[in-house]
């Protein structure tokens, strides 16, 4: 089990050679899924743009299924495996537990991802990412997902094993770093998620093979969403951990309070899994008490956690910047931030967009009664493009700018484009999310091939504003695809043709992490007034938007 350790000369980070290779392969597999999902996105967006209406209906639904599966599962979970290995073996200066088993997990994931995509492109499994019964896909659609999930589960256990190794071999002192704690949160939620996926997908596979006669539709939705929504909670935990990591890497930022940030992650573990209820608020068969308790993550404790992270991440940056002397006024620390560093700008756009667009819309639509307004409208994808694309994907893209030289030992090519890319992709995705939510507020359906209802006996005429919003979705979506595609090209070219950077020293034993001697003297306390102002702006927007929607609801037909 001998491995070697490389000390990166640029970051000072220490990589277990076996773990490093796994991180690279997982990240690359993720980017390949992102590429395929991105090409599908182009087909989807150009069809939903009413003036273009590119694909015929069958190809549109096929592209949409592939887009959802590749983006929401394959891209993100492959990348998260890399994040887990980084947050354990690299940050704790230890060897990765059982690299061979980790490889087995990787190949299961890869085979599963390919198998499901093959099923989709064969054309008889256009059942959407959610594959709601009783609409049936081919058996290998479900089997691929199951294999992928088992592989990811193995990755989670290798991560946990690595934490045990680090503890046993005493490679660090004190507690695990906050970022590792966040990754641990993600891994725990992932285990719950994957178990839920198995509970529903295995019977569904047997049903598609003819061994089970019927799957109950309400049960399917409850259990499937315990995977489908919770897997997005893995993302939340992972990208919040990445926010803390980028703040630490770029600014040397130290958490405002370890206690608060860790408690907030702990709230995620306790409550985030309740969110499968978000998808059943407009369903029959489940009672209001169940809906209210679950949809609110038991009194919004997980929302509370996100609001805490939303303040402590920029707060940590503000403290670090003020300590460096950027003390003028409320916002000098922010104005003088490295806006040309794509790792930082991606992270900051991710934070703001996730909070303002994704967070506020998510709580609104997750309110039991308000959900009636937007259930299954294009508001829903508007919301999750703000959480998953702006929140997770953009944060991961930003981290990758840091990883290319450090992990892949290549110089990033086209640094001028790299400066712009987070704005191009991030801001156009802000626009996509906003106009989709606008169209959804007007009622436009999600997963719908033709808003003009060609061939329908009693076609409904959407208001002109809805057409305008969908046209803007098309335009902003194309810009976002250019920004995302540009990122893929840039990263792939950098990995293939970027200048090779020197490897740094390789050792046979790891250097343990030691704490500095406790002096008892605390650094002077630095306040965070600028962050507080930003947080209050957020709160006011949140409250206004929330109550505007209650007002809208109260104008509808009476329902009881």
């Amino acid at each position: 089990m001998a491995t070697t350790y490389r000390i990166c000369p640029r970051s000072g980070l220490q990589f277990d050679t076996a773990a490093e290779k796994l991180m690279r392969w997982n990240a690359v597999a993720g980017v390949l899924a992102l590429l395929l999902g991105g090409i599908m996105a182009l087909g989807v967006i150009l069809t939903r743009w009413p003036a273009v209406h590119l694909l015929p209906a069958d190809q549109f639904y096929l592209a949409l299924t592939s887009h959802g599966v590749n983006m929401l599962l394959f891209w993100i979970i492959f990348f998260e495996m890399a994040v887990l290995y980084f947050a354990s073996s690299t940050l704790l200066h230890c060897r990765l537990a059982t690299p061979k088993i980790a490889w087995a997990g990787f190949w299961l994931m890869a085979i599963g991802a390919v198998m499901t995509n093959v099923a989709i492109f064969q054309g008889e499994s256009s059942v959407m990412f959610t594959s709601y019964v009783p609409m049936q896909a081919k058996p290998h659609f479900y089997l691929g997902l199951i294999l992928f999930a088992v592989g990811a589960l193995i990755g989670c256990f290798v991560f946990l094993g690595t934490l045990v190794v680090a503890k046993a071999e005493k490679t660090y002192e004190g507690s695990i770093p906050l970022v590792t704690f966040g990754a641990l949160t993600a891994a725990i939620i992932a285990i719950f998620t994957i178990a839920s996926g198995a509970v529903i997908l295995i019977p569904t596979l047997l049903w598609s093979l003819g061994y089970i006669r019927e799957i109950d539709t309400i049960m399917y939705r409850i259990v499937w969403w315990a995977m489908g929504h919770s897997s997005q909670q893995i993302n939340v935990s992972a990208h919040v951990a990445v926010w803390y990591a980028v703040a630490a890497i770029v600014f040397g930022a130290k958490p405002m309070s370890e206690k608060v940030s860790r408690s907030a992650f702990f709230l995620y573990i306790l409550f985030l899994q309740l969110a499968s209820a978000h998808h059943l608020l407009s369903d029959p068969g489940v009672g209001s008490e169940w809906k209210v308790v679950n949809t609110s993550y038991f009194m919004y404790f997980a929302v509370l956690a996100s609001m805490i992270h939303g303040m402590t991440v920029p707060g940590a940056i503000e403290q670090a910047q003020r300590a460096k002397g950027y003390n003028k006024g409320l916002f000098e620390w922010l104005r003088k931030a490295p806006w040309g560093n794509p790792a930082f700008s991606s992270m900051f756009l991710s934070l703001v967009g996730f909070g303002f667009l994704g967070g506020i819309s998510g709580v609104m639509m997750g309110t039991e009664q308000l959900n009636l307004l937007i259930h299954n409208t294009i508001y829903v994808p508007g919301h999750f493009h703000a959480t998953v694309v702006i929140g997770t994907t953009l944060a991961f893209m930003g981290l990758t700018y840091f990883l290319v030289p450090v992990l892949f030992r290549r110089e990033v090519l086209f640094p001028g484009f790299a400066k712009l890319q987070p704005y191009l992709f991030g801001l156009s995705m802000y626009a996509v999310a906003l106009v989709m939510m606008g169209a959804g507020t007007l009622g436009v359906s999600r997963r719908h091939w033709d808003m003009a209802f060609a061939g329908a006996g009693m076609a409904y005429e959407w208001p002109g504003a809805a057409y305008l919003m969908m046209g803007l979705t098309g335009i902003a979506g194309v810009v976002a695809i250019i920004g995302g595609g540009g990122w893929i090209l840039q990263i792939v070219f950098s990995l293939l043709f970027g200048k090779r950077l020197d490897e740094g020293e390789t050792r046979s034993t790891p250097i343990p992490l030691t704490l500095p001697p406790q002096t008892g003297a605390h650094a002077a306390h630095v306040g965070t007034p600028g962050t507080m102002v930003l947080a209050l702006v957020f709160l006011v927007s949140f409250i206004l938007y929330y109550f505007v929607n209650w007002k809208y609801l109260s104008s509808l037909w009476g329902m009881a």
Binding site: A57, Y61, L91, P134, M135, S175, I176, P177, V179, I218, A247, A253, K254, P255, S257, E258, K259, S282, D283, P284, G285, V292, S296, M299, Y300, L304, M307, M311, G315, A316, E368, Q369, N371, L372, N376, T377, T441, S445, R447, H448, F453, G455, A456, G457, M458, A459, Y460, P463, L515, P516, Q518, G527, T528, T531, W550, L556, W557, G558, M559, A560
Partner: protein, 181 residues
């Protein structure tokens, strides 16, 4: 020492919390409670709550109940633009049944403004999405479950029911109608 290193203070859980940070947590906590209470409050005082009344049913049983209402209260046969579906005008307060199937909402109802009806929803094949436009009321419709929703139209006009749960290649043609007079 930063977020990617172990905390410098070994006993980090005894470090005091920053004052502004604490204030923010308190505000966020209160706001969380307000939002929680809002949902409960609306059940008591609000006029738009989705009913929990649901029954197990079968496709045959639900189709038969729908047919009975159609037989009893049909006032005319629809025009070609109404797919020649029966237009049904049930008395106020009665139970009305709406079938979602590939790719129709059947039949067409004519309701009175300000009167309450018990709308029974079920699907015959896949799941469908009841999306009432331009009201924008959206309800998931399951096969084998009968969902009973009390509705009170508050404005007259022609309403469309768009299907907003993906149900196959003809999904976009699945539009139904309700008239309110």
């Amino acid at each position: 020492m930063s977020a990617i290193s172990p905390p410098a203070e070994r006993i980090w859980w005894k470090q005091p919390i920053d004052k502004l940070e604490f204030i923010w947590i308190a505000i966020a906590f209160v706001w969380s409670l307000v939002m929680f209470v809002m949902m409960v409050y609306w059940h008591i005082a609000g006029g738009q709550n989705l009913s929990n009344e649901t029954y197990k049913t079968t496709k045959e049983m639900f189709a038969a109940k729908t047919q009975a209402v159609v037989d009893k209260y049909t006032v005319r046969t629809g025009t070609d633009a109404e797919k020649q579906f029966p237009v049904v005008k049930p008395p106020a307060g009665s139970d009305i049944y709406l079938i979602g199937r590939l790719w129709d909402w059947w039949p067409i109802y004519e309701l009175e403004k300000g009167k309450t009806y018990k709308l029974h929803l079920s699907a015959m094949d896949y799941m469908h999405g009841f999306s009432l436009q331009p009201q924008n009321i959206n309800i998931q419709v399951h096969p084998n479950y009968e969902h009973v929703v009390k509705i009170t139209p508050n404005q007259s006009g022609t309403y469309s029911i768009v299907c907003n749960e993906y149900c196959g290649i003809g999904h976009h043609t699945m539009v139904g109608r309700i008239y309110v007079k």
